[in-house]
Amino acid sequence: MRDLSLDLTGAVVVPGFGLAAAQAHHALRALDAAYGDTWLHLVHPLAGRYPGHLDLLLDPAGVPWERRVGPEHDLHGATVLAVGANDVLTWLAVEPARLVVVTDGGPSFDGTHAPVLDDPRTTVLRGDAREVLQWMLAVRQPTTP
């Protein structure tokens, strides 16, 4: 697994079915806390397998409602962390400054493939979402002592 040297402070998380399938919501919240609660969580209406799927998991994980945004949120210039959400990326038409993708390589809901996944600047972390997020937490270096 490659080194994750980029700073994810202030990132926008885009969670998808892969987060739910791996039951990685508590691992996501732990990493969110390690970045000082600076993240926003973009819950797309099509994310997951039914409306409300991702909120169902982010609620008990303790991701506060006030840090959740919808698809209207402007990602231009943002650092985006997509977790098991390759299909959501196709619907978002993302143009973030940095994109980190956590994916198990599973098929998207409707067979689409986001072009941004092929962008050489995109960092792809392949594996089970919970294991990858736990690894990201383990290698995270505090930015302030």
């Binding site: 079915f17 739910a20 399938a21 039951q23 209406p45 099509l46 997951g48 397998r49 039914y50 409306p51 409300g52 799927h53 169902l56 998991l57 609620d59 299909d87 196709t90 619907w91 809901f109 409707d110 689409t112």
Partner: protein, 282 residues
């Protein structure tokens, strides 16, 4: 286009006042039939820019149930010119997917109804007088209605298991924190369930009978059976839904259906040959 919103026997309404301005902005006129719905007074429609009138001189009549009209019609099910039930299950089409929006409401309603009729406590409670719960809930069918029911019961603290004949559903059930039950275990789980919520229904297919009257009779005393799909369970149940189960929560079902209708009209206005529009056209 002159778009008429039909007065109909269904407690839902096809267009709510909040979605009128978007249609006006597309250059359409919106006409509502007098005394349209108990959900919203006519004055709210007038304030949103609609006018009172009849479907007779409309170009398109929008409704939940199929309606009689000389013009184009849009409804959830056939017969109608545009049938929202036929929306393809793609990401792009989700905004007009009325099956999803209505199923979500139906599943949520069925789960809450079962939970409220159940005398016990839903989640586990360790008390000085003994430990209560968790309730054992079984959901059959894990489409949108089933997933909505599972999610609601999980939130309430029940121990939820579910089965669907489609193999891909095991991962989806697990993704909500529920347990997938294999086909050969379903009968045992039915007998042991405190709450049974059935949601197995596919568009254009007969509703499958999953649980016999004898199976219901063999369930634990006090157990609650809700047949959201209407036809999954034989005999007496606490509530039987059907294709219009979402009408049990008419305001929310209408709000969502109306958004689907407005999105469909937007697609139709921009491109009558749009793939989603074409899929719904009869």
């Amino acid at each position: 286009m002159r778009i008429a919103v039909a007065h109909e026997p269904d407690p839902r309404v096809a267009l709510v006042p909040a979605d009128v301005p978007a249609l006006l902005a597309l250059g359409h006129d919106v006409v509502v039939e007098e005394g349209l719905t108990d959900l919203h007074p006519d004055a709210d429609y007038l304030a949103a820019g609609a006018t009172l009138g009849s479907r007779d001189d409309a170009d398109l009549v929008v409704a939940v149930q199929p309606v009689e009209a000389g013009s184009l019609t849009l409804a959830l099910r056939a017969p109608a010119t545009y049938v929202l039930e036929r929306v393809p299950r793609t990401g792009r089409a989700q905004v007009v997917d009325a099956v999803t929006s209505q199923s979500l409401v139906a599943g949520h309603h069925g789960a809450l109804l079962a939970a409220s009729r159940w005398d016990g406590l839903l989640g586990r409670h360790t008390t000085a007088a003994g430990t209560l719960g968790p309730a054992d809930a079984l959901v059959l069918g894990s489409g949108v209605a089933g997933l909505g029911a599972i999610g609601t019961l999980v939130r309430l603290g029940a121990r939820v298991s579910a089965h669907d004949v489609r193999p891909s559903c095991a991962a989806e059930v697990a993704s909500l924190g529920a347990a997938y039950v294999a086909a050969d275990e379903v009968a045992d789980r039915v007998r042991e369930a405190d709450l049974l919520v059935t949601t197995a229904r596919s568009v254009g297919q007969p509703v499958p009978l999953l649980v016999s009257a004898a199976q219901v009779a063999a369930m634990r005393p006090g157990s609650v059976v809700v047949d959201v799909a209407g036809g999954n369970v034989e005999g007496t149940v606490a509530w039987r839904g059907g294709p219009d189960a979402a009408a049990a929560r008419p305001a929310t079902a209408s709000r969502l259906y109306s958004a689907n209708v407005a999105a469909f009209i937007t697609l139709l206005t921009h491109d009558p040959d749009d793939e989603v529009v074409s899929a719904c056209a009869t």
